[in-house]
């Protein structure tokens, strides 16, 4: 069969998938095509007039890619895997959908990145961060880093790297490549007073000594150097200074780039989103965007599904936040805890494959910090009782904790109570919750929301 015929066949399955309402065709068409044609990713990418750009990281892939899209489109027409299907099949499906696109902009799973990026030969590749995540699925952090290192050695000189200088493990990758933009924070006033418990990569990648930090911004991200072998943070050329947290609504900062400086008001809270914005800005600049275009794109950004997504429940506003690993969870908690008011919460913990079957990571999330602010909490999902127990050991009084394994029941209880609330959920739990909210007519399906 000719490649064109295979493409046609694969596209036809997308229509079926959408009409049956099973995920909007975000993976099936690509999976089919890759089965028919092993080098389909490469062939499809070669058809993109302006090539492809790829974003990978443990945390922030979806948000960073959406921010870059907000900057680049318009004027560019993009094809994206915006619904989070970030394996080879999801990327192929996105290219099948985006026939008239100029540029492919894809988020790619960190373990799948080496194979996918090698096939796509992207113009630019963002390496955002590496945190411990789903050890039962990904294995140890060093394995992912080793895969990225091999990839950086294989990619041709036409691929520009855009990397987080503040992450020592990421900074150990592709250090010798010529086209390499480094981004990082440059605002000691925004630093943490101490390293968080769950910090990864505390020990020098080269010599094993403990890194010294002039400033720690998030997990093990910061202005680091090794006192023993002298390795140090590469000097970032795209930085954020004068960071101003504006409650849970926004964060302001001065974006400093080789193209000049500009003040940005990002309509999302949290230092972690400043990192996402820097990655998106550095990527867009690499792809030829102007500084004003970057500023405007970041300022008109709206949250990706389930990432600080605001939902009107009728009886009050709920904010839905994806939490999937210790570093991401700690940043969400740090952001929420900045507002000291008592909070009504719902926490949904699933242990399906995409969440990580091993739920031990919740013990590395600093719920202790949030505990004094929890006025009431409903725990739901496949591991609801485990979550409730975690909160008990974090210091939340038992009479404030309710266990409702069933998500519909949990949402009913939340809506009945009224008022504003925060919904923390693991990946499949977030999709489950959105599914129930969709049935209630409160949100759009995630693949439409993402489009």
């Amino acid at each position: 069969m000719l490649f064109e015929a295979k493409v046609g066949l694969a596209r036809a399955t997308a229509v079926t998938s959408r009409t049956t309402g099973r995920g909007g065709g975000t993976t099936l068409p690509g999976r089919l095509l890759l089965r028919l044609q092993a080098d389909a990713l490469q062939r499809l990418a070669e058809r993109l007039p302006k090539g492809a750009a790829v974003v990978s990281a443990t945390n922030g892939k979806t948000t960073t890619a959406k921010m870059a899209a907000s900057i680049l489109s318009p004027p560019l027409r993009l094809c994206r895997n915006a619904a989070g299907a970030n394996l080879a099949s999801g990327v192929a499906s996105a290219m099948l959908r985006g026939e008239d696109a100029d540029l492919g902009l894809f988020e790619v799973d960190e373990a799948a990145l080496p194979a996918v990026a090698e096939a796509l030969a992207p113009r630019a590749l963002v390496l955002g961060n590496l945190f411990r995540d789903q050890l039962d699925r990904y294995g140890e952090l060093e394995l992912i880093a080793a895969g990225w290192r091999d990839l950086a050695a294989k990619l041709g000189p036409a691929t520009a790297l855009v990397s987080n200088a503040d992450d020592p493990l990421v900074a150990s990758i592709g250090r010798d490549r010529e086209r390499h933009t480094w981004f990082g924070l440059d605002d000691p006033a925004a630093a943490l007073s101490e390293m968080q418990h769950a910090s990864d990569s505390k020990w020098c990648v080269r010599c094993g000594a403990r890194y010294a930090y002039t400033a720690v911004y998030l997990g093990h991200l910061g202005d680091w150097r090794c006192p023993s072998c002298g390795d140090a943070r590469p000097r970032p050329s795209v930085t954020a200074r004068e960071i101003q947290i504006d409650g849970l609504d926004a964060v302001g900062f001065r974006l400093c780039t080789p193209a000049g400086d500009v003040a940005v008001r990002l309509p999302l809270p949290g230092v972690y989103n400043v990192y996402n914005a820097l990655a998106a800005a550095a990527l867009a600049l690499e792809l030829g965007a102007g500084l004003e275009q970057v500023r405007a794109g970041l300022e008109r950004f709206s949250a990706a599904f389930g990432r600080f997504e605001r939902i009107d429940l009728g009886s009050g506003e709920a904010v839905l936040l994806l939490v999937k690993n210790p570093a991401g969870g700690n940043e969400v908690i740090r952001t929420l805890a900045a507002d000291e008011a008592p909070k009504r919460m719902l926490i949904a913990l699933n242990d399906r494959i995409a969440d990580g079957r091993d739920v031990s990571w919740i013990w590395d999330v600093d719920f202790e910090r949030l505990a004094p602010q929890i006025g009431s909490v409903i725990c739901c999902g496949t591991r609801a009782a485990e979550m409730a127990m975690r909160l008990k050991y974090a210091g939340v009084a038992l009479d404030r904790i309710e266990v409702r394994t069933d998500m519909d029941e949990a949402l009913d209880r939340l809506a009945a109570a009224g008022g504003s609330s925060y919904l923390l959920a693991t990946y499949t739990a977030m999709l489950d919750l959105r599914g129930r909210l969709e049935q209630r007519g409160l949100v759009l399906p995630f693949w439409q929301e993402a489009a």
Partner: protein, 242 residues
């Protein structure tokens, strides 16, 4: 006031599977009973302090290599402490370090402290998943232990050395002999994390009881409301059985 002391070996290196949760379980369960709980971090280069219970968690391979030489210093002091009645709880990588060695695929050996007669060899496939075992601490009535295992090492116990329990669901020490972990007096090693102690309050209390006993203090522990703990255990056991 009654009190117990826990010496935590290399908390900054060996903490990959939420080992903090095990410490939290001991700490809270003591606090709820009015038992003073003291936690001492033992880092590279530190001398081994006196403690009622020593805790050793699991680390990434790389982090574990960083402390492999340092821990050799503690082999004799730990043995002396155990002879003096101290307990040891070692999980995952820490469990492997209790034995004579870990032998890699290329025959390379990382020495353990030899506190217990066991050896570990790199296996060809990782043993990953929810696990449940039946455990008889001190030959008492069997109790269920649940959690998660994720290890490539296959551990074999020396002759006459008793496992912590018999695998009901999961892989255990080596996926072959049905044993999981090790128990030798008040020394316990296991691959079960999750973390181990919060969902297994019986084991937590056994460790606390042993520590109090060492201090010659009343070890009749006041009962606690373990409703959530046992519900989390029940759910984990049901998932392990799938």
């Amino acid at each position: 006031m009654t009190r117990i002391t826990v010496g935590h070996l290399y908390p900054e290196h060996l903490n990959i599977y939420a080992d903090r949760g095990n410490i939290a379980a001991l700490e809270r369960r003591c606090a709820w009973r009015g038992i003073d709980f003291q936690w001492i971090a033992i880092g590279p280069g530190d001398l081994l302090p006196d403690a009622d219970l020593y805790y050793l968690g699991g680390g990434q391979d790389r982090d574990q290599l960083l402390i492999a030489d340092d821990i050799a210093r503690h082999a004799e002091p730990l043995r002396a402490a155990v002879d003096d009645g101290a307990g040891v709880l070692a999980v995952c990588g820490g469990y492997q370090l209790l034995g004579h060695y870990y032998r890699g695929h290329q025959g390379d050996e990382m020495r353990g402290i030899g506190l217990v007669d066991l050896v570990t060899e790199a296996g060809s496939r990782r043993m990953i998943g929810n696990i449940m075992l039946d455990s008889r601490l001190d030959g008492a009535a069997p109790q269920r232990l649940v959690g998660f295992e994720n290890h490539a090492g296959r551990t074999f116990l020396g002759e006459g050395v008793q496992p912590l329990g018999q695998v009901v669901h999961g892989h255990g020490n080596n996926g072959e002999d049905g044993g999981e972990g090790v128990q030798q007096g008040s020394v316990i090693g296991t691959y079960v994390h999750g973390p181990l102690l919060p969902k297994n309050p019986g084991l937590s209390d056994w460790l606390i009881g042993r520590a109090l006993e060492r201090r010659g203090q009343d070890q009749q522990l006041a009962p606690l409301d373990d409703g959530l703990e046992l519900e989390a255990q029940r759910v984990a056991a049901a998932i392990a059985a799938r």
